[in-house]
């Protein structure tokens, strides 16, 4: 059962307090105070109080004064004024200065009181939900701000490079030098292109429902093999694939492909060009309703202190400019979608193994 709504009732006549408590205590948790200082103390002790009733005619401060004060110090509880029929001035003040939710005339009748409480409670809930949503939105907005900044910066990097190259081209006469620069410019444009593609991946992994189909890993890997065959030959990287699938596997192909593709791309990208024995090994085994995908490379490895951060957005572990900081973040988002897990094992200058486990849906 949800906790009872907490209500504070302030009145200088004890019999009023007793009457109030007697009629309402079964449905609500009633706090009472005989004077303004006690009432303030009550609000401090019970910050979760949702509704405050106060009589207008109190010794010392009036109900309006009290409301005016707690409007600033305790803005959350909904304020309701209790007053005798003829106190029109006080009511106007309470509305304008105390910003009260409503007033209930004395002597009150129970049905009217309960109705006032229920309405006030709805108002309180709507307000606090709004505040919560507002916080969430603010957080999302800040994230978006950071994201937009990083993206615009990362796109402008290669662009200003190319612009700089064009400036420099005006002064270059030597063809060989020009060709060297064109080669570097091409690399920048390719990098930009990959970046935009990864951004698209990022977007598609953040939303959308799963489209489940039956996955044949052999044909999936054959598609990818075709992409990496050129890289494998040119850079002399041995590419070994073994697939063992004896049972059906149900999954969304897009995120699955994204995971394998990104890990493969990294395995080829972070090879040590000076090494004589370069290889990328892929092992896929489907059994007991899950697929285990291991991708092992003989590359430069990952610094141990970086392992905890490699799945963070925009993190780059290597100072060569090949990475965008999207790849492994997208892998992780895709794994979240598929309810999968990833383990990484890396030795600097020897290689890295990523092991992915994904359940069939």
């Amino acid at each position: 059962m949800p906790e009872k709504i907490k209500i504070l009732y302030v009145d200088d006549e004890p019999e009023n307090l007793v009457g109030f408590k007697a009629s309402l205590r079964l449905d609500y948790q009633i706090l009472t105070a005989l004077n303004i200082p006690d009432a303030m103390q009550m609000l401090d002790d019970h910050p979760e109080t949702r509704i405050v009733f106060c009589d207008q005619r109190m010794p010392g401060k009036t109900g309006v004064d009290f409301f005016e004060e707690i409007r600033v110090t305790h803005p959350l509880p909904v304020r309701i004024m209790l007053t005798a029929y003829t106190d029109v001035e006080a009511i106007i003040d309470a509305i304008n200065k105390g910003n009260i939710f409503r007033y209930v005339k004395k002597p009150w009748i129970e049905a009217e009181m309960i109705w006032a409480i229920e309405e006030a409670n709805k108002f309180y809930m709507a307000n606090s939900m709004l505040a919560e949503k507002n916080d969430e939105l603010q957080k999302a907005y800040n994230e978006l701000n950071k994201f937009a900044y990083s993206v615009s910066h990362d796109i402008r990097g290669p662009l200003t490079g190319i612009l700089g190259a064009i400036n420099l081209a005006r002064e270059i006469d030597d063809i060989a030098e020009m060709k060297e620069m064109l080669f570097l410019m091409e690399k920048s444009v390719k990098k930009l292109n990959t970046y935009v593609l990864s951004m698209h991946d990022y977007y598609s992994m953040q939303r959308g429902e799963l489209k489940i189909t039956e996955i044949d890993f052999t044909s999936l890997i054959d598609e990818l093999k075709a992409i990496y065959a050129v890289n494998s030959t040119i850079n002399n990287v041995k590419f070994n694939v073994t697939v063992k699938q004896d049972e059906a596997f149900l999954c969304d192909k897009a995120p699955l492909r994204l995971i394998i593709n990104n890990l493969l791309s990294n395995a080829f990208k972070y090879q040590d060009p000076k090494s004589a024995n370069k290889s990328v090994d892929v092992r896929i085994e489907v059994s007991d309703g899950k697929a285990i995908i291991s991708i092992t490379d003989t590359g430069i490895g990952i610094l141990e202190s970086h392992l905890g951060e490699i799945f963070h957005l925009f993190f780059r572990s290597n100072s060569s400019e090949v990475g965008s900081g999207f790849g492994l973040y997208n892998v992780n988002s895709a794994l979240l979608k598929l309810n999968g897990q990833i383990e990484v094992d890396s030795v600097l200058n020897q290689g890295t193994t990523f092991k992915v486990t994904i359940p069939s849906i």
Partner: protein, 144 residues
Amino acid sequence: MNTEISFIIIDDSELDRFITQKFLERTKQNISIRTFHGAEQALKTICENTDEKDRALTVILLDLQMPVMSGFKFVEEFEKIPVEIQQKYVIIILTVLSSSNDPLETNRILTFKTVKSIVEKPLTHEKLASLLKHVTLARNKLKN
């Protein structure tokens, strides 16, 4: 006056290193250039080459946004090394600037005492000329 000025280019972008280097070579001054794709290697080299007898000034052209060690971190670390070494260098930031919403507060880099100025990419002939004027002034100051 034909005193050598030496340059260290720290930038993770290969194209940007190439451009800066070529622009510098084209100034026809007597200069030497070293390039680094990561700030930590540059810092290591600076710390190791402490026995240089000459008082030639070295200009560090530093990019800010780099993986592993950013330009900010580099300057922070640089200001921890002995002052005698620091004095041989002038740091000039060469980076992509964003006009608004900059959470990294690029301008904060100018509060470091070893950072002399900031030049926005892309580099042009004119920007380099004014940069070199700056450096020559600093060098003359060092000589006096």
